[in-house]
């Protein structure tokens, strides 16, 4: 019965709007893919002509990683409407399982694209399993309690990474130890050494893989948003009790969003892990989860292309202003607070919008105004 009602597209005002405006999806998809491809071309051109310095070129893969992390977190925060503060945990699971897989595969074969794809898939699977285990117990919790539990799980995952030891023995077999070092393995054959993290990883991540990952993530999230399941998830977000009363399985749909988001974060984590020859578990702490959440909120909760732009700009800017080392993070903090106040405070927002309308030459198509309106409405 629930399915029939869903097919009739009659629950949730937003679900209805999206369904009736079938081209809403096409618009969002073309903007998102367009931004990804234009961004890719611009950055590649910049790198080829030498306009973009060496330091910034090193940020290309992390940019892609953060873009896909932001898009995948948007599935939980924007579409499912749950606040998650542990996204870096899934990233960590993906990164470390991907690294272990890569080292095992490289011991047996040398075809890098296959190694990359298999590692990413493995990272995604492990992160999905982690998301499933975490998701089952916690999705009964509400709001801020769910946020604090995801925070706790993120920290637990990071803590476990601190006591994991992986290595290859002389036959190329995987050895594993928990809470103590593995005896009899040379340094070069150690894969993960507790708090020191992963060492000796062969860095096979490239910008092209990053673009593919971003496109894949956007594809999955956009299609999910516009599927029957996605509309069910949004209906639950908009009114849990109403959705429950027409027979939607709240836990199932929430879990679905959570697991898909975790799997995508795992893939992104894997790309991140294979981009550095050494990687410490400390990288995946609470601050990283918060950073991804900032991308989502500044890009617009539920807005896919907005968070692509936010993730890119907010990764490039701190890097580009590295010469002002001491002041850049301070400025970042102030800008963050100001942007939040300007976009969410009704009085200040009205004033900013009025000024913007006066100076904006394209009144209807201006990129800034509708975006702000949307974020404000969704937060309410």
């Amino acid at each position: 019965m629930a399915d029939r009602i869903l097919n009739l597209k009659s629950i949730g005002s937003r679900g209805l709007k999206n369904a009736v405006k079938g081209n809403e999806y096409r618009r969002e998809a073309s903007i998102s893919y367009g931004i990804l491809i234009i961004g890719y071309i611009l950055l590649s051109l910049g790198a080829a002509t030498g306009l973009i310095g060496h330091n910034l070129q090193g940020q290309f893969v992390p940019i892609c990683v953060y873009v896909s992390l932001a898009v995948s977190l948007n599935l939980v925060v924007g579409i499912s409407g749950e606040l998650s503060l542990g996204h870096a945990g899934f990233m960590a699971v993906g990164a470390f399982s991907g690294i272990v897989m890569e080292r095992m595969l490289l011991a047996h074969m040398s075809f890098e694209p296959a190694v990359m794809i298999l590692s990413m898939l493995f990272g995604a699977c492990m992160a999905a399993i982690a998301g499933f285990i975490i998701g089952i117990p916690i999705l009964g919790l509400r709001g801020d309690y769910l946020a604090i539990v995801t925070l706790a799980f993120g920290e637990i995952i990071r803590n476990f990474m601190n006591v994991l030891y992986f290595g290859l023995d002389e036959n190329g077999h995987l050895k594993f130890a928990f809470n103590h070092t593995i005896e009899g393995i040379e340094n070069s054959q150690r894969i993960i050494t507790g708090a020191i993290g992963a060492t000796g990883t062969k860095t096979i991540s490239t910008f092209n893989w990053g673009l593919l990952l971003c496109i894949f993530t956007v594809f999955v999230v956009l299609n999910m948003k516009n599927s029957k399941q996605g509309r069910a998830i949004m209906a639950i977000r908009d009114n849990r009790i109403a959705a429950e009363s027409i027979g939607l399985d709240v836990r199932k749909y929430k879990l679905m969003a959570f697991v898909v988001s975790a799997a995508l974060a795992g893939m992104a984590g894997c790309l991140f892990g294979l981009n550095y020859s050494t990687l410490v578990p400390l990288k995946f702490n609470f601050n990283t989860s918060v950073l991804i959440l900032v991308f989502v909120v500044l890009g617009g909760v539920g807005n896919i292309w907005g968070c692509i732009i936010a993730a890119t700009v907010l990764t490039i800017l701190p890097e580009a202003f590295r010469q002002f080392a001491d002041y850049r993070m301070l400025t970042y903090a102030i800008v963050l607070i100001l942007v939040m106040i300007c976009t969410y405070n009704p009085t200040i927002k009205a004033r900013v919008t009025a000024i913007w309308n006066r100076i904006n030459p394209f009144k209807k198509k201006g990129g800034d105004k509708p975006k702000k309106k949307k974020t404000g409405k969704e937060a309410a």
Partner: protein
């Protein structure tokens, strides 16, 4: 004796968590926001006390008072400038702003005091440790005074909230913001007062914590902040006795898992206990049940 020593250090650490958790729990109770900048207010408090004793040469207790005054002002300012414009706009916006404030305070401290860790001189320097059980058990003055401070603060705060006019106003605002306003309660003042008390206590907690663990860095407050927040949720966020119980239990769990299970995994065990408690009692040990309206 080892066991007793662990209990005492657990209670002492737990008392620090409890005092920090009070700030979280009161702020959450009154304005329903997760104030992630609270941990950094602790750090600022500890730095202020450090500056007073090291650079100016003040007495430790005067330094503590100055730190409390500065943090109280800081708390009121943060609330006025960053949180008040966003009141009533949903938890996500305020959460991100709180994170922005936290970044701001950390980077401010980094600019002023640098990234190098500072050695904090204990507030209780010169007091001799207490020997009990025929000299087998040594209790540091830090532990005794931290536990004592926790008890005093807890009693004072409970009395304040239940007996005084301002305290009752605070409870009324946290119960129903709009109705409280209709009854002639100044909501803004009540919320400012809550932030002032919470931040002042954060300064006390910072000084006590750095007396026991004397390394001071711009990120010193972050992890205790998260743990104290966990303690507040553990005990039931919004409840003052809950913060105390949550803090003490968390401190004991942390010290015992460090002593008997694994140092690296102690944080994981603390957070796992939180999750178990929330699964059994979704609003924490002493939290109020939320009824759902259709």
């Amino acid at each position: 004796m080892n066991f007793l020593t662990n209990i005492i250090s657990g209670l002492s650490l737990g008392s620090v968590y409890a005092i920090i958790a009070l700030g979280y729990t009161m702020v959450y109770g009154i304005s329903k926001m997760l104030n992630f900048a609270h941990g950094d207010v602790i750090m600022i408090g500890a730095y202020m006390s450090f500056v007073m004793t090291q650079y100016i040469g003040a007495n430790g207790w005067i330094a503590l008072l100055v730190a409390m005054a500065v943090c109280t002002l800081l708390g009121i300012t943060i609330e006025r400038l960053a949180y008040r414009p966003l009141r009533g706009t949903g938890s996500l916006a305020v959460l991100i702003t709180a994170i922005g404030v936290s970044y701001f305070l950390q980077n401010m401290a980094l600019l002023i005091w640098g990234a190098n860790p500072k050695m904090f001189t204990s507030l209780f320097k010169g007091m001799s440790p207490v020997h009990a059980a025929g000299g087998k058990l040594t209790i540091t003055p830090e532990s005794i005074l931290t536990i004592a401070a926790n008890i005093v603060i807890m009693i004072a705060l409970t009395l304040f909230v239940s007996k005084t006019k301002a305290g009752k106003a605070m409870r009324a605002v946290s119960e129903d913001n709009g109705a409280a306003q209709l009854m002639g309660i100044n909501v803004n003042q009540s919320i400012s007062l809550t932030f002032a008390i919470g931040s002042g206590l954060a300064a006390v907690a910072g000084v006590l914590m750095c007396s026991a663990y004397p390394i001071l860095m711009p990120t010193t407050g972050a992890m205790p902040g998260i743990k104290a927040f966990t303690a507040a949720v553990f005990g039931g966020i919004g409840s003052i006795p809950g913060a105390m119980i949550g803090g003490l239990i968390l401190g004991l769990i942390e010290i015992f898992s460090r002593a008997y299970i694994s140092t690296e995994l102690s944080d994981a065990i603390v957070f796992a206990c939180l999750i178990i408690v929330l699964l059994v009692k979704p609003t924490g040990l002493l939290g109020k049940k939320i009824s759902e309206k259709v």
